[in-house]
Amino acid sequence: MKQSKYKGWLYLLPAILFLGIFMVYPLIDVIVYSFEEGYNFVSQTSQGTGLYNYRYVLRDPYFVQALKNTFVIVIITVPVSTGLALLISLALSSIKPLRNLFQTVYFLPYVTNTLAVGLVFMVLFKKTEYSDGMINLLIKLFGGNSVDFIDGPHWAKMLVMCIYTVWIVLPFKILILTSALASVKEDYYRAARVDGTRPSRIFFRITLPMISPMIFYLIITGFIGAFKAYSDEVALFGTDLNSAGMNTMVGYIYDMLYGNSGGYPSFASAAALILFAVVFTITCINLMVSRNNVHY
């Protein structure tokens, strides 16, 4: 009997082993790294402990640039994608024929390889010696001036970046919101209709409050996701994000770890912890706001 009492641990052993090595230990280690000055990979030694790494990272113009870019992406894409997803879901839930087809189409970007489709976006927006690219021709058609969205001005790059990010994150949000809308009982709408409620009032007084928990969920996960933006950027602008001026915080961490600046795990750790602190703070604020606004 005594032997079987601990059998549960045996079943957990592989999971605990892997999580311990690749999750718990690294979590502690990364904090240690971030305070060790000039940690050397090869000799595994450091020159002392302190806040030097944090100071360095916060003064690094590349990091400041990455921080700015990340914030711009977050501030633009989260509201735009959530709003657009809400519009599309509302439209989807008020039609019947072809609904499944539309849902399938809207979900497609979710299952595509971000890097691969990013290449298509790049081709669509890029200006080459042969052609101005699809999008620029459209802009010209409406009387605008063509811009190189991939190697041109910063705002243009940021615009493509945001469009692509929205395109990528929409499917998930549409999926969540359509199921949230479907879970609002039909009787509420019927009651409102019998009372002659205007569509706008139905939306703001009934639909929106009823799905508000899901909207807040999407905003919170949207913030977290957008703060971790990285591979979408690589897809559009290549791996050398610093010189493109399009680096993000996560991109900065990886570049510090490996790649062009080559092997500074201490700086990477400090940057990662700063990122974590930012995300954590924003999530807490989000949760506080949602607690005050979601009523049941």
């Binding site: 079943y11 592989p14 298509v120 591979s231 795990p265």
Partner: protein
């Protein structure tokens, strides 16, 4: 009479309003659908154009006059796409299989077995769901490097084997299976392990399939970790391969060949999605986020 007339007008107006509304809804939905589909259409279209046709079209045409499959041949010959595919396949299959071996017993232990410290460990597991991968990836990179596992499958696979979230999902599902079955099996002298394989796993099959599909999608699109851990092109996965092609493949300007590669990379997942559409959408809405 007057009253009737008034109601008649209200009726007419209501009908007209609802028709106009419907029309606007469909137009809006169609425009959005086109925006979603356009990149897919464009990559297919371009992949069938020859390089010279493509380069000569200052205003790109929305159709192709002389379709060619030369780009697809080139995708498999000029760059080691087949190799990337094979690597990704091995990586996906091995990671998913190993993950199942690790998470199924763990979920079972949490769901059914009684042992000291179970609740404490489970809370610790749950709190691990909040750890962002960016934090732990740094040390993992150092660990794998110090184990001399760079550019090996082991290095690629090991850190991706466990997922706390999937253990949680599976545990919830296991718990819905009536405990009477477990007690009955115990009385009959069935061992825990046999019970797990013979009863739990078959009953929870829908969830296991969902988890498998989600993990396959995740593996197929993996980019960040493989990029850190591989710099040998013969070990690249498709995402890294695409990036490599973008920067240096096909002499940089052969857009049609790049598009053919993109099509080849995208097609497997799109087929998987169309076949398992409902399972995937259900699984994702239960808590998957991208990446």
């Amino acid at each position: 009479m007057n009253e009737d007339n008034k109601y008649y007008r209200i009726e007419q107006a209501a009908r007209r309003r609802s028709n106009i509304r419907k029309a606007f809804l469909y137009i809006f939905l169609i425009i959005c659908a086109l925006a979603v589909l356009f990149p897919f259409y464009w990559m297919l279209l371009t992949s069938f154009k020859t390089q010279s046709t493509y380069n000569n079209e200052y205003v790109p045409k929305f159709y192709v006059t002389d379709p060619t499959i030369a780009n697809y041949k080139e995708a498999f010959t000029a760059v080691p796409l087949a190799g990337y595919f094979l690597n990704t396949l091995i990586y996906t299959v091995v990671t998913t299989a190993l993950m199942m071996i690790v998470i199924v017993p763990a979920a079972f232990a949490f769901a059914r077995m009684r042992f000291p410290g179970r609740n404490l460990v489970f809370s610790l597991f749950l709190s691990m769901m909040m750890i962002p991968s960016e934090l732990v990836i740094i040390t993992n990179y150092v660990t794998i490097t110090s184990w001399n596992m760079r550019n090996t499958f082991a290095g690629l696979i090991l850190p991706s084997i466990t997922s706390v979230f999937y253990i949680y999902l599976l545990k919830e599902n296991f718990e819905q299976i009536p405990e009477e079955l477990y007690k009955a099996a115990k009385v009959d002298g069935t061992s825990d392990f046999k019970y797990l394989l013979r009863v739990m796993v078959p009953v929870a099959k829908p969830t296991i399939v969902t988890i498998t599909i989600l993990k396959v999608i995740e593996c197929w699109n993996a980019y960040v970790w493989p990029r850190l851990i591989t710099d040998d092109r013969s070990r690249y996965l498709v995402s890294n391969g695409i990036q490599e092609i973008r920067q240096s493949g096909f002499g940089r300007d052969n857009i049609p060949a790049m598009m053919a590669t993109v099509v080849v990379v995208s097609v497997p997942l799109i087929i998987l999605f169309l076949v398992f559409r409902n399972k995937i959408m259900e699984g994702v809405s239960r808590g998957g986020t991208k990446g």
